[in-house]
Subunit: 200 residues, 2 copies
């Protein structure tokens, strides 16, 4: 994978509706989310929400894009170019930033469970996964070029790190235990130490 994944085209999402969706999801959960409840948080009518998004499914797909955009913005703000430090910061964003956002984690997990039935969700989660792998892989390639990481298969290592992060988020939801995010972060560290940094 050498090219960055294409970014979503289309109208800019309305930040206020996204924040209202965030609040409504955290309060009511995915299954009980309605346009009315989003409109309540938005402080406007359901018609005002529907003006921007035809269906709840469209709105939630835009919400997944919004979360990815936020993640990307935060990553762009990281100024260090040191590969090990950048890799650690990316993994912190994927795992440690989710601490204290258990309700959002649960809602996203439920939406992931709908991916097999809703193509719009499936597309968004695939795109999000691809972009995060791309960010990780870029840092690993850079670290190899600088001679600070071992000569590994960057694509495999990036996917493995995403797998560990997904496993930690899944366990945090299923076991109702936020500590699993920190545990998975430790697993990622152990993996990096052993695979990327060990003297071969």
């Amino acid at each position: 994978m050498t090219d960055p994944p294409r970014t979503q085209t289309g109208s800019e999402p309305d930040e206020d509706i996204m924040l209202a969706t965030y609040d409504a999801l955290c309060k009511h959960g995915y299954a009980d989310l309605t346009i009315q409840r989003i409109a309540d948080e938005y402080g406007k009518s359901t018609a005002a929400v529907h003006y921007h998004y035809d269906t709840k499914s469209d709105l939630l797909a835009a919400f997944v894009d919004y979360l990815l955009d936020q993640f990307v913005d935060q990553v762009h703000d990281v100024e260090t170019t040191d590969p090990e430090e950048r890799l650690n910061l990316l993994l912190d964003k994927l795992l440690i930033s989710a601490v204290d956002h258990q309700n959002l984690l649960i809602a996203l997990f439920e939406m992931q469970g709908q991916a097999p039935y809703q193509e719009t969700f499936a597309d968004r989660f695939s795109q999000s996964d691809e972009y995060i792998r791309y960010l990780l892989e870029t840092v690993i390639v850079h670290g190899k070029e600088q001679g600070v990481f071992n000569d590994v298969d960057s694509e495999n290592v990036a996917r493995s790190l995403v797998t560990i992060a997904e496993g930690g988020r899944t366990r945090a939801v299923t076991l109702d235990d936020q500590q699993q995010l920190a545990e998975a972060r430790q697993t990622a560290d152990d993996y990096i130490d052993a695979v990327l940094l060990s003297s071969e």
Copy 2:
């Protein structure tokens, strides 16, 4: 963790109803599962199903137990006592055995997403997680005693392997890509090579 988790007490689940539930879940998915659809697969009335299980939730909790029991039975049938071989077989059971059972993986994922709302599911998934970690940890301790594994923190390594397996299953569902099970199996192998088997 030194003692095996307590096993579920109560009446023996009716194997035929469990098989009917399996078929109904794979055909209709979790959201569209009804007692009627389970009864259809069972070849009897809904009353016959309700005779054994008061609610759909009770039945599905018993189904999670049933899957764990099947896993435990398969593990008991493994005759090798070689730690590395046993560890590989356990990970094969967790990941490779799920290949070609995508509909079951999806249904289980949806049930995991209900764990925050349904205590019976949460209890079952916690118990299942604990038991699988116990099996892995036992093999790792055994391997350390035999001097074939490095002197690692067995509990941490067992949890890391479960995290990798969960991540692989999550990605197989979310990305609709069974290949992710084999990829996660490879991540587990890389982790074992680097953490348990590398010369320190």
